[in-house]
Amino acid sequence: MTLLELDGLSVAYPAGQRWARAVRGVSLSVAAGEVVGLAGESGCGKTSVAMSVLRLLPRTAKVTGRIRFGGTDLTGATWGELRAVRWAQAAVVFQGAQHALNPMHRIGTQIAEPALRHGLVTRSAAAAHAADLLQRVGLAPELARDHPHQLSGGQRQRALLATALSCSPRLLIADEPTSALDSVSQAAILGLLRELAAERGIGVLLVSHDLGALAAVCDRIAVMYAGRIVEQGSAEAVLGDPAHPYTEALTGAATVIGDPATRYAPRSLGGAPPDPLSTAPGCAFAPRCPHAGPDCGGEIPLRPAGPGRLVECVRVAS
């Protein structure tokens, strides 16, 4: 069953008189029990996609396209409908755990808060609920009484995950949930996500720049470049046999799992991603592409390349 369906999603941010087009027509779906990875260089628009689902982008952002969740269209939802979906149905593990927790509140309070507000637990049961969730993400229940500044970066990231699980959502959007973790903890969290998908049928959209991490847990992977999904397909296919020149470069670059440096620029790639303000036609990757040719300046078709596989490159034969 398809949980989340993005269709032609675009996000633009105001930049002076112009618009920074962070996401440019993304179509993607996540089914129940499925883990979908969203990969790509820093700034390619992953978080913009993730945050647009629950309409958490700043008011100034212009969102177009279609966001369907469990059959309802969230783009036209009222605030009340949206509030009902938020957390109870779909939850987000925010990127940047350092700032995502409220410094004034105790960890336990923050974890239990959504369940409490959505009427899923009583006030008296809230503490036990928080302790339970903390244990689930591998933290000591005693941490519930601490304030965020008393936790390490990794502990905070786990606490955020616990918060996201507070209402047992059907969809979990995890934006770089392991970026602050050592490889052992990282494996544990990824295992937990896998487990949630397999045992509870939760759909997971896992955002990461770390292809190695995605490879370990994802059923499918979508690769983003400059606001577009340039390639998507099954994890083995995309990573094992990259079709798009950018994916190729990325996989080559991602040999050092968990190395934060790779986040910023795949090593085998020269140059930088295009300015999101740019409105130049043709393939956005062309300036960095070793295979670029004159035909890359026109309309690039999205072509199926095998079962469930879509690639956006003129060089790819359908």
């Binding site: 004034m104 509140h105 105790r106 309070t109």
Partner: protein, 594 residues
């Protein structure tokens, strides 16, 4: 989290409770038995110690609560028989025998006898230097009470001020033997013998005096006097319109004029027992004749000082600065101060005559250089005169502007030196000025104001303390002063005082500019019977008046807070226009430095 919520909640609750007064029913102004005369005052009494007290308010309170050996008749300044009903002095003028009133008691019921008076004067005599009232008894050799009704004072030399011993008489049984006698405050309620007793004292707020049931004189008509403190006349006036205050003194001309059309308010323009003066530095020096200060040498010449006097248009000062409320000054003491005042004959009066001023300067050789600026003979430097004044009181800066203009017109450019009150004091005592604006309030007895012009008031050391007003020193004036101080015959004494003042006028060192009127208002719809001093046209707000004030018969308590909106609006505008013109304070009771 919970703490924060609690904090916010308690903030809200506190906020609400702070706002409750808004919702609380207004407390009605309950009328208690008897009548209360509420007088707005501008400053605190500060110190009510009967030996030391020296503010206007303190002196009013002491005068209302204690008796003095004698007082002054409001009508003509003659001696009023209060505790003393009769007196004789010995042929050698050194022994005074007072016969005392019978049946005077303290407010605690004990009799007041000659022993109390003797006790008070002896205590004063042995008081430390900072009890300035002790100069009142400086010539006393002994004070005895041979009988309850008889007081005998022996003096070292004839003393003219024996009927002006302005010290309150204290109950010996309360004050004797106290180690803190010279600092202690009177108990509340006070044990005193005057028409009122101090029953409540709230420094910064009010002083409550209630009629003394044991008072020997006629019982006061208002049973309570409330001296209520306001920090600005404007607030006091607003309170008067609300019916919270019945009388206010010391208004400025704008405030006074603004009340012109209020039918419930009587306005009193009291010819003032005060004067504003321009001091000319005559070449300041110490008692040992060593020079002091840095006055302009040109002013050492009396003729230059006289020329300056001719350049001053006093009527213009009265109209332009005092709003028309004042009299031009000439002789040292105000004309109202009979019998002591002396004024020059019309022929000798130095009226406004700038041509004459120029002519005098010309004849002295003060050439006019470039820009109409005179040059002192034997010098090359163009003249300038520094004019020091305090900006604390709004009238002085305006006097200064006029004087600068007039002296500039006769070729003597003036440099204005505004100063704070204490800075001005320092300039004055060190002789570091050419011209200086100052002012005094006047006591019924002239002795003190005459004494600040004698040579022995000059400072002993450089920068040392001095009680000299303007470094005036004239041996012949001193002789006249000393003579009057020992002259017991009032008529002869007055003649000596006149001679002294006429010499002072000739010296042209203090130039009396104006005798500003005292502007007072009271609720005539509520109270009547005010007594003015000195004589008709004098001030009605003072201790001499309050015991005679009575409520207007059958006052219908028409609440005055029904003042129409537009009137209050006008009042507010006026208030805004003059806001900041706060009451200036009268520092001293007996004499006022303004």
């Amino acid at each position: 989290m919970r703490q924060v919520r609690r904090a916010i909640c308690s903030l809200l609750v506190l906020g609400l409770s702070a706002a409750t007064p808004l919702l609380a029913p207004l407390t009605a102004h309950a009328e208690t038995g008897g009548s209360t005369l509420t007088v707005g005052i501008s400053a605190d009494a500060e110190d009510l110690n009967p030996f030391k007290a020296n503010t206007v308010v303190a002196s009013q309170i002491l005068r209302l609560t204690y008796d003095y050996l004698t007082d002054y008749e409001p009508a003509d300044n003659s001696t009023l028989r209060t505790l003393a009903t009769n007196w004789t002095s010995s042929p050698d003028k050194l022994t005074w025998t007072f016969t005392l009133r019978h049946g005077v008691t303290w407010s605690d019921g004990k009799p007041l006898t000659a022993k109390d008076i003797a006790f008070t004067y002896r205590a004063l005599k042995s008081a430390p230097a900072d009890v300035t009232n002790r100069t009142l008894v400086k010539t006393f050799v002994s004070v005895d009470a041979p009988a309850d009704g008889t007081l005998v004072i022996r003096t070292s030399k004839p003393t003219a001020t024996m009927l002006a011993i302005d010290a309150p008489i204290l109950p010996e049984h309360v004050w004797a033997g106290r180690t803190d006698m010279y600092t202690a405050q009177p108990a509340v309620p006070s044990v005193s013998s005057g028409p009122y007793v101090l029953t409540e004292r709230k420094e910064g707020e009010f002083y409550r005096l209630r009629a003394n049931p044991h008072y020997w004189g006629p019982a006061p008509k208002v049973t309570e006097i409330l001296l209520r403190r306001f920090k600005s006349v404007d607030t006091a006036v607003a309170a008067m319109k609300r019916g919270e205050v019945d009388a206010i003194g010391n208004l400025n001309s704008v405030q006074f004029d603004a009340l012109k059309d209020d039918p419930s308010i009587a306005r009193v323009r009291a010819s003032g027992l005060r004067f504003h003066e321009l001091l000319l530095n005559p070449g300041a020096r110490l008692a040992n004749a060593a020079p002091e200060g840095n006055g302009n040498p040109a002013l050492r010449d009396k003729r230059v000082r006289v020329a300056i006097d001719y350049a001053i248009d006093r009527q213009k000062l009265i109209d332009g600065v005092l709003g028309g409320y004042g009299e031009p000054g000439a002789g040292y003491l105000p004309a109202k101060l009979t019998p002591w005042s002396w004024q020059p004959a019309p022929a000798d009066l130095r009226g406004y005559d700038p041509a004459k001023a120029r002519q005098i300067l010309d004849s002295l050789g003060y050439r006019t250089g470039p820009g109409n600026v005179r040059i002192m003979p034997g010098s090359r430097k163009p003249m300038t005169l520094r004019l020091a004044y305090t900006a604390d009181h709004p009238v002085f800066p305006r006097y200064a502007t006029y004087i600068k203009q007039w002296l500039g017109d006769i070729g003597l450019p003036v440099q204005l030196v505004p100063a704070s009150g204490s800075q001005l004091g320092a300039l004055q005592y060190r002789g570091e000025y050419d011209l200086l604006l100052s002012g005094w309030g006047v006591d019924p007895d002239p002795d003190y104001l005459l004494s600040i012009q004698i040579c022995s008031a000059l400072p002993l050391t450089k920068g040392g303390p001095t009680s000299s007003d303007a470094f005036h020193c004239d041996p012949r004036y001193d002789a006249l002063y000393n003579q009057q101080a020992t002259e017991l015959d009032p008529a002869k004494r007055a003649d000596l005082v006149h001679q002294a003042i006429s010499r002072l006028y000739g010296d042209a060192i203090p130039l009396v500019l104006t005798n500003p009127a005292t502007l007072e208002v009271y609720r005539k719809d509520k109270f009547t019977g005010f007594v003015s001093r000195p004589g008709p046209g004098g001030s009605v707000l003072g201790y001499w008046s309050y015991p005679h004030v009575r409520p207007v018969a059958a006052v219908t308590q028409a609440e005055s807070s029904h003042t129409p909106l537009y009137a209050s609006g006008a009042a507010a505008l006026v208030a805004l226009a003059v806001a900041g013109g706060l009451f200036y304070r009268r520092r001293s009771t007996r004499h006022l430095r303004e």
